[in-house]
């Protein structure tokens, strides 16, 4: 009995101390997990950078089940965490269920979309993935010797088709005769974490003549990059800078600065501006990675051409089609 009492006592104390953690930010990773070397890990890196620079602390959780989505949002909101940052489009429905109950808490959905009119305390952060993919598509076409480049997507959703479409547009801009092969890993969330299938798709694309492959597939991309390295062709990473995974064999990485989005949201804290924002080339929200691991692969000519295209897109002289606008791609059939 006394044992039980002491449990209850310390439970109460714990409840109090949990309530005292005021206005720290919280971060919720999607089912892919914190260390996917890609999307979620970028969010983690942004949060770590914020914690290191400001000395602040934050709480994070890796989701295990669907029912936990709303639960994690509510528990963080109840305990005064603010803002609550989430990664992945699957969080937008749970956020719209919860946001109305906690009007003083700010919610951030990265890659998701929540109507700002209906929920004024939600910030939706989107990225111009088509623009970044366009640039790496150009690089792929310039590096290709066979005249065939390829794309491996994760789950077949409009977002990933946007990557593929931007990539194909960039490749065709360099060489209008180039062949672009695009494959998707699957139609379920399992497609984000299937490196074996990613590897098989890459093999198949190589046998069709591809010598540069772009993986936009979360954890599945690890298998794509590995096979590309094993078979001696070039690959392109995604989201985080993945050039280091196979130095000298990863042409570049299409950066989607989820880390910057998380860092900025944590820095703004409770004063975070809500609404919808799209991070583009101009904001350095998307881009391509250049470091010591791929400097020998990226020629001066390639760099000049890509940087020029970047300027043109920012200036509005080059229009890159966004698949999501009309659910179609002018240069690629799915």
């Amino acid at each position: 009995m006394t044992l039980m009492k002491s449990f209850l006592g310390s439970a109460a104390a714990l409840a109090l101390s949990a309530g005292a953690a005021l206005a720290d930010p919280a971060l919720i990773y999607d089912l892919g997990g914190k260390f996917d070397k890609s999307f979620n890990e970028a969010a983690f890196n942004g949060a770590e950078r914020w914690a290191e620079e400001t000395g602040g602390s934050y709480r994070d959780i890796e989701l295990q089940s669907e029912a936990q989505r709303e639960q994690a949002l509510r528990r963080f909101a109840e305990n005064g965490f603010n803002p609550i940052i989430t990664t992945g489009f699957s969080m937008s429905t749970p956020i719209s269920n919860v946001a109305g109950d906690y009007p003083d808490t700010k919610f951030v959905t990265i890659d998701g979309f929540v109507d700002p009119e209906e929920f004024p305390n939600v910030k939706s952060i989107l990225f111009a993935e088509h623009q970044g993919s366009y640039l790496v598509g150009m690089m792929a076409a310039m590096a290709s010797e066979t005249g065939t480049v390829s794309f491996v997507g994760g789950m077949d959703i409009p977002l990933i088709r946007t990557f593929a479409c931007g990539y194909a547009q960039g490749a065709k801009a360099v060489n209008s005769d180039i062949e672009v092969i695009a494959n998707m890993t699957g139609t379920t969330p399992a497609a984000w974490n299937d490196p074996v299938k990613g590897s098989e798709l890459t093999q198949a694309q190589i046998s069709q003549g591809s010598d540069v492959v772009f993986a936009a597939a979360g954890g599945t991309g690890i298998g794509v990059l590995q096979t590309a390295a094993d078979e001696g062709i070039l690959s392109i990473g995604v989201d985080s800078n993945q050039n280091y995974l196979h130095p000298g064999q990863v042409l570049t990485s299409m950066l989607k600065r989820v880390d910057v989005a998380v860092y900025d949201a944590m820095t703004a804290g409770e004063d975070l501006e809500t609404g919808v924002s799209t991070l583009t080339l101009e904001d350095n929200g998307v881009g391509y990675a250049l470091d010591e691991n791929n400097e020998e692969l990226v020629s001066e000519e390639m760099k000049t051409a890509v940087d020029q295209a970047r300027e043109e897109i920012i200036a509005g002289n080059t229009e890159v089609h966004d698949y999501r606008e009309d659910d179609s791609c002018p240069v690629l059939d799915f």
Binding site: S10, R59, E62, Q71, R74, V98, D101, I157
Partner: protein
């Protein structure tokens, strides 16, 4: 004469198993440098000390009651139905179709309709393995587990190609119409002065689960069909000698089992998500096996074991929220409980039986 009194069999064995699992879990938590007592406090506080925590605990428990009953009904006929996962998945499809395409005037009617649909779809999914077992002798363990994969693939196809609204990224059905939304505990018990169960998913299907417990008890111990099922489970040749058709009994037992597993979807799809998502069952079909084993295939035991597992799930979620214990290790802790209460049952039972026999000899 039994080796052990009934109370020891029903209470002592599970308690000792739990204690062993708790000790091992504590060692695991210690090994990664966290405080096991603090972790236990967090689990209790988060799952049992707040009404919203209870809302989650009972929500998970509702799932486990249905799948636990499903496993135990089949088990009484000596059939090991490990296809609860697939039957619940297909049950979810039944719920979704009925909620989306029939204009229900009120949730109570919708619940009856959806429950019938879920049970029918789940039962249908169990029918083929049942037939194969009864007529062809294909082992039910193999066929039901394979049907889990087929169910997942089928749901995947239906969600992505047929039910998903255009332009939506998530492979999920549209939200069910408002008239089919079930009242949660919050809607039922919360007042302005006492905001109980705030935001938690526990809902009216919990009472449906209790009803199912009673119905299963009635079926197994108070009806002719239940007698036939149990007779078949004890000895097929004796049952046949008594004029019981094994084929008929196997098929009916599996249909009931599949129907119970399918009913779980009323809780996940209609009660919680209010739409059909890809992975709504989340292993509850397999947890049902542990629940049935721990509950000795009796509805009361299943009910209690389901509450325990609901506590473990909700407590695990709290651990993930407030500690740095990685989610993989939380699964390890949950698995240890399953291992000890389900698989390693005899490890505790046999020595305990010896103790009781020795005690009795001394007294005699």
């Amino acid at each position: 004469m039994d080796k052990m009194p009934a109370w020891a069999d029903a209470v002592l064995v599970p308690l000792i198993s739990l204690l062993l699992a708790a000790i091992l879990s504590a060692l695991v938590i210690l090994a990664i440098g966290e405080n096991p007592i603090e972790a236990f406090n967090l689990m209790v506080e988060g799952a049992l000390m707040r009404s919203a925590g209870w809302g989650y605990t009972l929500y998970y428990a509702t799932n486990f009651i249905f799948t636990g009953l499903a496993v135990s009904v089949a088990f009484h006929a000596k059939l090991f139905n490990i296809g609860g996962e697939g039957q619940a998945t297909i049950g979810g499809l039944g719920v979704a179709l009925i909620c989306l395409y029939i204009p229900w005037p009120h949730w109570s009617l919708a619940l009856i309709g959806a429950a019938l649909g879920a049970a029918a779809f789940g039962a249908l999914w169990a029918l083929i393995p049942a037939y194969l077992q009864a007529k062809r002798g294909s082992h039910i363990v193999i066929t039901t587990i394979m049907f889990n994969f087929i169910a997942a693939a089928l749901l995947n196809y239906v969600l992505v190609n047929l039910l998903k609204p255009a332009g939506q990224m998530d492979p999920a059905s549209p939200i069910f119409p408002a008239a089919t939304h079930l009242p949660t505990f919050q809607d039922m018990f919360a007042t302005d002065a006492m905001p109980l169960f705030r935001g938690s998913p526990g809902n009216v299907t919990f009472f449906l689960a209790i009803l199912a417990c009673f119905a299963v008890w009635l079926l197994i111990w108070r009806t002719r069909l239940g007698y036939e099922i149990r007779a078949l489970g004890h000895s097929e040749s004796a049952a046949r000698y008594a004029g019981i058709s094994p084929v008929r009994t196997i098929v009916i037992a599996m249909l009931i089992s599949g129907g119970l597993a399918g009913l779980m979807a009323t809780n996940t799809a209609m009660g919680e998500a209010e739409r059909l998502v890809m992975n709504a069952t989340e292993g509850a079909g397999f947890i049902g096996i542990a629940v049935a084993l721990m509950g000795r295939n009796h509805p009361i035991g299943v009910f209690l074991a389901a509450i325990l597992f609901g506590f473990l799930y909700q407590g695990g979620a709290e651990l993930a929220l407030w500690t740095n214990i990685p989610r993989e290790l939380i699964v390890v802790i949950q698995a240890l409980v399953i291992l000890f209460t389900g698989a390693l049952d005899n490890m505790v039972r046999t020595p305990l039986e010896r103790v009781f026999v020795a005690m009795r000899k001394e007294r005699a």
